[in-house]
């Protein structure tokens, strides 16, 4: 039963913030995480949000994606959600926890999935674009096959054993549109945080000072040292004249030079 690996899935959803208008919306990668979870068709899918109950309206956009109910762990404003989430997830014992990459509002350090993975003693995989059960040829049961996005559009395949927390990369399949009817019909279920969990305010954040972000000037590569002429050259001249030049070689000789150069650059094996 390879399907059993991914039969119990939890998705952590946050409230996003539109980068221009600043309005509350569904988080972009969080919605993609929910999309990924819905596409897996797990036997049990739990969507969880931790935060003040007053914000719950912005969460309806997730319900509009075809979710029937969404659990809200009610926390006071400014409280750290990690402990409450870990305690709640321990009870659910999901085999896969999907989250967005980074919150669109607040600190946005991207630490939450790592802390949860640590709390659940699960493996942590960042930047996932596809999750599925490992194919049957891989004899070990309980493994998940994962595709991870790398810079420059590259992809990496991995297998992970055991429980898994994964963050979703923006190049994962796009989230489906949110429909109004299901969004109205869906149930938002407030859950009180278990009393065993001590909900603490985040002291570090209150220590920080905040001010509006101002774009910084772009860093220019200035060459130091050398004579004034050298520096002027480095600043103004494009790299030219350094190259190797073959004038009217035969087609074969030209092709060979290109081939060798590509091999040297590591572009061809």
């Amino acid at each position: 039963m390879t399907e059993a690996v991914l039969s119990n899935v939890a998705v952590l959803l946050s409230i996003g913030r539109h980068p221009v208008s600043g309005r509350a919306r569904r988080g972009a990668t969080d919605a993609q995480a929910l999309e990924m979870a819905l596409a897996l068709r797990p036997r049990r899918l739990t969507a969880i949000h931790a935060g003040p109950a007053a914000d719950a309206d912005a969460l309806r956009a997730y319900l509009g994606m075809g979710l029937e109910r969404l659990t809200v762990l009610v926390l006071p404003d400014g409280a750290d959600p990690v402990e409450a989430l870990i305690a709640h997830l321990r009870r659910l014992a999901p085999s896969l926890v999907l989250t967005g990459r980074q919150a669109e509002d607040g600190e946005g350090s991207g630490m939450l999935p790592y802390l949860i993975a640590r709390g659940l003693d699960a493996a942590m995989v960042p930047d996932v674009v596809r999750v599925g059960p490992a194919d049957a040829s891989d004899a070990t049961p309980g493994k998940a096959a994962i595709v991870q996005a790398l810079p420059r559009g590259q992809r990496r395949a991995l297998t992970v054993s055991g429980r898994l927390v994964a963050t979703v990369h923006p190049s994962a399949p796009p989230a489906r549109a949110s429909a109004f009817g299901p969004a109205r019909r869906g149930v938002i279920e407030p859950v009180a945080v278990p009393v065993t969990v001590e909900v603490t305010a985040d002291l570090f954040l209150s220590e920080c000072e905040h001010r509006p972000w101002r774009p910084k000037p772009k860093l220019m590569r200035v060459k130091r040292g050398g004579s004034a002429l050298d520096r002027l050259r480095a600043a103004t001249e494009s790299k030219s004249g350094k190259g190797q030049l073959l004038v009217n070689p035969t087609a074969e000789a030209g092709a060979l030079a290109i081939y060798d150069s590509l091999v040297e650059q590591g572009m061809l094996p």
Binding site: R17, P19, G22, D105, G106, E107, G108, S109, G110, M111, Y114, L115, R118, P126, L150, P151, R152, G153, Q154, R156, A157, L158, T159, V160, S161, C208, E209, H210, R211, P212, W213, K216, R221, K223, R224, G225, G226, L229, R233, E237, S238, K239, S240, G241, K242, Q244, L246, N248, P249, A251, E252, G254, A255, L256, I258, Y259, S261, L262, Q265, M267
Partner: protein, 415 residues
Amino acid sequence: MSNSPIIRRRVDPRAERAARTVLTGPRPRLLRQPVAPTTINERRRDPRALRTAALVQHLPRPRYDWTRDAASPGTAAPAGVAVTAAPAIPLRVIAEPAYLVLAMLDRPGGEVSEHDRQVIAAARLLADGADAGGGGAVVTVATGSGAALAEAGSDRHVALPEGWADDYVPERRAAAASALMAALSPRHILFPDSPDGADVARRVAAAAGERLFTGVQSLSPDRATRQSSGGSLETGHRPTRLMTVAADAFAPLDGVRHEARPLDLATPMVAGEEVLPRLGGARRLAVDPDALALSEADFILSAGNGVTDWQSFAELGEALGATRAGSRVVCDAGHLPRERQVGASGTVVSARCYLAFGIAGAPQHLQGITGVKHVIAINTDLHAEMIKRADLSIVADAQDVMPALIRLIRERRND
């Protein structure tokens, strides 16, 4: 200008006369034989000799190259390379560091990336900081030897196992970093805010139960800032122990030389190898190069107005596994879709290798490839701008070279 001007001996009659004068007798006498001139005026430059040494071409017009080494007339210095010997950069040694700042580098594929250099520069800010008293040392931690990091500003180097350079072992790297944190008790640990670096940093922070200050944009010994709230706020705090450094926020150092002395520490490796990794079987997947966005592509095959044989061009793209692109003329003519246009009104690419067939190299096109590391150009015109820009230029017909290159690749692949 040259540093060692040519000295021409000038006849100085007074000095010669003084040298021949014997003052022992009742009156001064002059010797017949002139004594070898004792002093030469070292200060005197000979502008004529300098000019002849710099002359590279007589006809049709005289051309001078003033960067040439005057001491060896006749040997043309490679153009673009300064001839004056670079003054030796003094070595800075921090023998007894007051505290340590760790820089955990990515070094993807064993190469020191630009981001790695920036992280070292940020670490130097913390190590040399005036307010904190300075006198700290930067310890770089990366796979491979530290020799290449001395000029980036590293005082000490801890080498991680060679095998970790190519494998995906974030759990081992994180364990090694945690072990180093315990063994060296550094004041700060900096990571690059790259996908892999930030991943390791978060693992370390989660394991240590410490706060991670991610994507640091500015840094001084008593204040670090980062972007928060989706980029709308700047958050400042005094530098925490664990931080990741945003890309392109700090200028890499140059003109410095540190010792990058290897530290023989087994702890990180042992701790790393002890971890039982849960992630396994990592392998790169083949991606369709033409499905990549042009700005993301690493290897681009580009066509200009000089290409007429589109069948070969398509086959070549497939044989090379390169992303296909073109100049504006080509996209206007409909040979390639618009989103495949490179240049000012197209896409600015950042590929590592750019193979250009029949592109003239208009300024609008060259703007699009300023970030490319290695350019290969094939053009029938020796004086095309593209030929000047390229690292390897071939003056030949694109329609001949493309099939020859396809044949060569297939041949090499078969044996």
